[in-house]
Symmetry: C2
C-alpha cells in the first residue's frame, strides 16, 4: 500500500514540476498586513488558544492591566471580577477597578489598538509591557461573538464616559460606538466583554487558581471573584500600604547595545557625548566619564547626534571595560522575603520554609532585574496527587501522595501555562536537588516559588506565559534556588539524623535490660539502676560523638546565614 502510494505521488510530481512559474506571477499575491491581522490569525501567540487557557488569559490581561494602573497611580487596588455563563461555551466577563481610569481622548486607542500604550517604550516594572494585552482581548471578543466591548472610564478630574469599542483589524484602529457621558461619578475602569468558545473549569489552570496566586503575590490587593454559579471568593488585602510605585528608569550603561546607544543619541537634548551619557544613563558620573575618555579614540565633547557607528561601538566597548555602580534598586519593587514567607505559610503550610530576595542585577539591553525564590518542604507543600488508604491489622491508615510543584511569577503576575518552555521551570529542574537531600524531586513534597521582576521581562511570546532563557537571568534564578535549597537541605539532613538517633536510642532501650542482666551476672554488681544509668550515659556520649562526626562531614552545605531560617512546626 505504502509503495503504491509513493509511486503515484512521484508521477504527479513529474507532471507538475515541468512548468516553472515566473517571479512576477508569484508576487501578484504580495500584500502588507496589520499587526492586528497578524495576531488575529495567530491568537495562540497571545495565549488565546484552548478553551480553558483562553479564559484564564483573558482574566490575566484584564486583572494585570488594572493592577498596573492602580499601582502607577498610587491607589490601593480593589478589583471585582465577574464571570457569567450566557450559553454553551459562551460567557460574559466583567472586570472593574478603582484605578485612575483612562482620559477620554486616549481611551479608544489605548484599548482598541494593538501596540499602543504607556509602557512599551519605558523601562518600568509593570505586569503588562507591550500594549497588546487588552486590545487582543477585545479582538477575541469580536472574533467569537461579533460584539464590541463595553467600557466605562472615569478619571479623578474628567467626566465619566461610557463607550463600546471594537477593532478594525485591517488597519489596527479602534471603532467606537454608543459613546456618552454618565451621571454617576466613578473613578476607575470597568470592562465588560463577551466570548464564545471558552470554558470555565476548576483546577490547576483555572481562573480560580490564577486569582489565588495573584492574591499570594499581591498582599495589598483586595480582589473579589464571582463565578458562573454566583459563588463569590474574596481575597482581602493583608497589607494596607501600597508597595513603592515602580518608577521608569534610565538604562544602565552596561547593558546598552550600539544600536540603542545611537538611537538614544539621535534624540538626545545634550550637545556633548559626555553630558549625553550622564543625563541619559543610570549611574554615569564624572569618574566613569573620565575613564571612558581614556579608552575611546575620539573626543567626548563631540555632538552625540554626529556619532558614527564605529564611534558608538568604541564607546560601548569602553563602557564594558568601565566599572559602574550596580543599577539602583529603587526601581524594582520585590514582594519581599517576609511577605512571601507569610503568604506561603498561610497558603501552603509547609514543614520548613526558606525564602530569599536576591540583590538586583542587570541583563542584556540594560534591563534591571531581580529574583525572589522560596522552597517550601513537607507538610502541605507540593501538589496533592492522591490519598492512599491501607488497612493493616484492622487499622486504616491514610497517606497523602504529593508531587513537587513550581509556582512561577513575572512581575508578581502568575505564569500558569507553557511551563515546559519557561526558563524558570528549566532552571528549577537543572538544580541538583539530591545534593540538598531531595532524592527524587518530582515525587517530593516541595513547592518551589520563583518571582522574576524586571523593567522588561523577556517573554518567549506575546502571550507572556513563559520567560526566555537569558543567561544572566537563568544564573540569578539558579543562585537564588541554590541558596534556599541549601537551607532546606540542612533541615532535611538534620531531620534524618534526628530520626537515626531516635532509632538508635530505641534499640538501646530495648536491649539495655538484657545487657544489665548479663553484667550483673558476670561482674557481681548488684545495683542494676546504677549500671543502667552508666550504660545510658555511655550511649548518649557515643551518639553525640557520632553526630559531631557527621556534622563535620556535611559542612559543605551549611551556611552562616542558617540562623535566618525558620522551622515552622517545631
Amino acid at each position: 500500500m505504502s509503495e503504491e502510494k509513493t509511486t503515484k505521488i512521484i508521477k504527479d510530481e513529474n507532471k507538475d514540476a515541468t512548468t516553472q512559474i515566473d517571479a512576477a506571477e508569484l508576487f501578484t499575491e504580495f500584500k502588507e498586513h496589520s499587526v492586528a491581522d497578524f495576531f488575529k490569525k495567530n491568537k495562540q501567540m497571545l495565549g488565546l488558544s484552548g478553551k480553558q487557557r483562553s479564559l484564564t488569559t483573558i482574566i490575566h490581561e484584564l486583572v494585570t492591566n488594572s493592577l498596573d494602573a492602580c499601582e502607577e497611580a498610587g491607589i490601593l487596588p480593589e478589583i471585582e471580577v465577574k464571570l457569567a455563563e450566557l450559553g454553551t461555551e459562551y460567557y460574559e466577563i466583567s472586570v472593574k477597578d478603582n484605578g485612575p481610569g483612562i482620559p477620554e481622548d486616549k481611551v479608544a486607542s489605548a484599548l482598541g489598538k494593538l501596540l499602543a500604550g504607556t509602557k512599551f517604550h519605558r523601562l518600568v516594572q509593570t505586569r503588562g509591557q507591550q500594549g497588546i494585552g487588552v486590545s487582543g482581548i477585545i479582538l477575541l471578543s469580536q472574533m467569537t461573538t461579533g460584539k464590541p466591548t463595553k467600557v466605562i472610564s472615569g478619571t479623578s478630574k474628567g467626566k465619566t464616559i461610557s463607550l463600546e469599542i471594537s477593532i478594525d483589524s485591517k488597519t489596527n484602529s479602534p471603532k467606537v460606538v454608543n459613546k456618552h457621558y454618565l451621571e454617576n461619578k466613578y473613578r476607575g475602569l470597568a470592562i465588560k466583554c463577551k466570548f464564545k468558545e471558552i470554558i470555565y473549569k476548576k483546577g490547576q489552570n483555572s481562573v480560580d487558581e490564577y486569582l489565588r496566586r495573584t492574591a499570594i503575590a499581591n498582599p495589598h490587593l483586595t480582589l473579589s471573584f464571582e463565578d458562573p454559579n454566583g459563588e463569590i471568593t474574596k481575597y482581602t488585602r493583608t497589607i494596607n500600604k501600597l508597595p513603592r510605585i515602580p518608577k521608569a528608569v534610565k538604562p544602565h550603561p552596561r547593558g546598552v547595545s550600539v544600536d540603542e546607544l545611537l538611537s538614544y543619541a539621535r534624540h538626545a537634548s545634550a550637545r556633548k557625548v559626555n553630558s549625553f551619557l550622564s543625563t541619559n544613563f543610570d549611574r554615569v558620573g564624572q569618574t566613569s566619564i573620565d575613564n571612558i575618555q581614556k579608552l575611546v579614540h575620539f573626543d567626548l565633547n563631540k555632538d552625540p547626534r554626529a556619532l558614527s557607528w564605529e564611534e558608538a561601538e568604541d564607546l560601548v566597548k569602553a563602557i564594558k571595560e568601565t566599572k559602574f555602580i550596580a543599577p539602583s534598586t529603587d526601581n524594582l519593587v520585590p514582594i519581599g522575603e517576609e511577605q512571601i514567607k507569610k503568604s506561603l505559610k498561610s497558603i501552603v503550610s509547609p514543614e520548613f520554609l526558606s525564602v530569599v530576595t536576591r540583590k538586583p542585577g542587570v541583563y542584556q539591553g540594560g534591563y534591571a532585574f531581580q529574583v525572589e525564590a522560596g522552597v517550601a518542604y513537607g507538610g502541605g507543600a507540593g501538589r496533592l496527587v492522591s490519598v492512599e488508604k491501607t488497612v493493616e491489622k484492622g487499622v486504616t491508615k491514610t497517606e497523602e501522595v504529593r508531587s513537587s510543584e513550581i509556582i512561577r511569577y513575572a512581575n508578581k503576575a502568575p505564569l500558569l501555562f507553557d511551563a515546559g518552555g519557561c526558563a524558570i521551570t528549566k532552571t528549577v529542574e537543572s538544580v541538583d536537588w539530591k545534593r540538598y537531600g531531595v532524592n527524587n524531586f518530582d515525587t517530593s513534597p516541595v513547592t518551589v516559588f520563583v518571582n522574576l521582576i524586571s523593567v522588561h521581562i523577556p517573554y518567549t511570546s506575546a502571550g507572556k506565559s513563559a520567560v526566555s532563557d537569558d543567561n544572566d537571568i537563568v544564573n540569578e534564578i539558579k543562585l537564588a534556588l541554590m541558596d534556599v535549597a541549601r537551607r532546606v537541605g540542612t533541615y532535611i539532613i538534620e531531620k534524618k539524623r534526628e530520626a537515626e538517633k531516635k532509632e538508635k536510642k530505641k534499640v538501646f532501650a530495648k536491649y539495655a535490660p538484657y545487657v544489665v542482666d548479663a553484667l550483673v551476672h558476670t561482674t557481681g554488681e548488684k545495683n542494676k539502676d546504677l549500671l543502667l544509668k552508666n550504660l545510658n550515659n555511655m550511649v548518649l556520649e557515643k551518639l553525640k560523638m557520632e553526630e559531631e562526626g557527621i556534622t563535620s562531614k556535611e559542612d559543605d552545605i551549611i551556611e552562616d546565614d542558617i540562623i535566618e531560617d525558620e522551622e515552622i512546626n517545631e
Copy 2:
C-alpha cells in the same frame, strides 16, 4: 538582615503611596509603536536570542525562504550557505539560491518590511507563513552591526538588480541604498548580511545539525555549507524530481469561524450566499447546500454582504451539522513513507524502523494538516550519550550508552529549539511507551521522527520553533505515534521471545547429557544418541507450544499491516 530590609521598604512605601497620580498625567507617555519596534525590543520572540540560537535561526529563515521560493516556482532548489568569521562573535552570512528571485518593484518591501509578503493571507503549505522571517534577520543585522543587508535579485524576465536594504523600525519601512543593475544574468536571490553577538559552534543546536536535518526532510534539495574554517559540507539531492508544488487552498467549511465567514462574505464576488459558499470554500456541493438550507433560518439566496452576525452564526452551526468530504489531499505535500524510511535508514541506521504518513485532517480555522511519524529502534537510533569501557578478565568491552531523541519538523523545516514548549514533544512524551516494549523511554535507543505539515502551522510564537497544542493536531500525532510504536513493540517483544528461547535451549544443551546418563542408568536403554535425539525433540515441541501461547497473549498489539514493516538487520 531580612527583617531590617523589609521594614525599610515599608517605610519607603508609606512615603510614596500618599501621592496619587492623575490619569491625564499618567497618559502623557502614551505612544503608538510599529511592529518592527515591537520585535526589535522582543527579538527573543523571533528566536533571535542566545548567541548560538540566533545564528541557527538566521540560517533557518534564509534557507526556508529560499526553499519555499524554489518550490513555489517549480524549480529544483540549489542553495549555497556560507559563513565567514570577521572577528570575535562577528560573522558574515551569505545565502544564495537558484529560485525565481523577487521582482524589482517588490524586493524592498518583501525584505525590508515586517508582515509583508505573499504567504500570510493564503492557505498554502509553506515553511514561512508570516512575512516576518527575513525582515527580522535584516533588523538584527543592522541592530548589531549598523550595516544594511546586501541583496542581489534576478528573475527569469527582468534585469539583475543589486541593492542594500535596512529597515526604519519607527515606521516599519525599508530604506534602500546603492541600488544598481548588474551585467551578469542571474536568476535567484542572494543575500549577504553581517551580525555581531552570535557564535558558531558544532553540536546539537548548531547550523550543521539544522542543515543535516533539512537535507533529511528535503531529498530534492542540493545544499552546500561552507563553515568559518572553509570546510564545505555538500548534500546532493537523492531525488531529481520536485515534490508537487503546494497550492493555495480554499478553506474547508468545517473549520471556518463566524468572524472569518463574515470577513469572506464581505469581499465575496458571488451575489447569493449559496454560490458564495460553493465558490469560496472547499468541498461544498449542491447536496451540502441543500442540507444547509434545511438547517438555517434564512434564505440562502440572500446577498452574502448583507449577512448579519446572527445569520452567520446560524450558517456556521448548520455547517457543523453537515457532512462534507475531507479536505483535498492535493494541497498537502508530505515527504512520504518510503522517503522518510530511506533517509532514516541512511542517517540513523537503526535495527528496526517503522514509518507512517497519516491521512490529512482539518483543525480549527479550516486548516488542512497531515502528520508523518517514524520510530527507529536499536542500532544507531537515539542520541549517543557516552561510550563506556569495562575490563573483565583482561578483555576490554565497550558499550555505547544511548538516550532517546525526538526529531521535530514543521512543513519539512527542522525545529531545533523550545522542545519543552512544543506539542510534538509533549505528545511523544505522553505515549505510554512501556506498552510497546520500551520500558524506559528516556534511556532507550530510540529516534522518534515527527513531521507536521499544514497550510497554517499554529506556532507558539513568531520565532516558529514550537507548535501550539491544538487538540486535533495532538490527537493525530498521538495516533501516528501509536501506530508506529505498535509495530516497534511487536518487534521488541519478538526479539525478547527469541532471546528467551535461545536461553532455554542453552540450558537444555548444558543439562541434557546428565539427563541421558540418568536415563541410561534407570531404563537400561543403551542407545544414548537416540535418547538425546528424543529428548531434544520433546524440548523443541515444548518451546514451540510455549511460543504459541505467548503469541496469543500479545495479540492486542499486533496489527494486520505488520507486513509493511521491515526489519533492517536480518
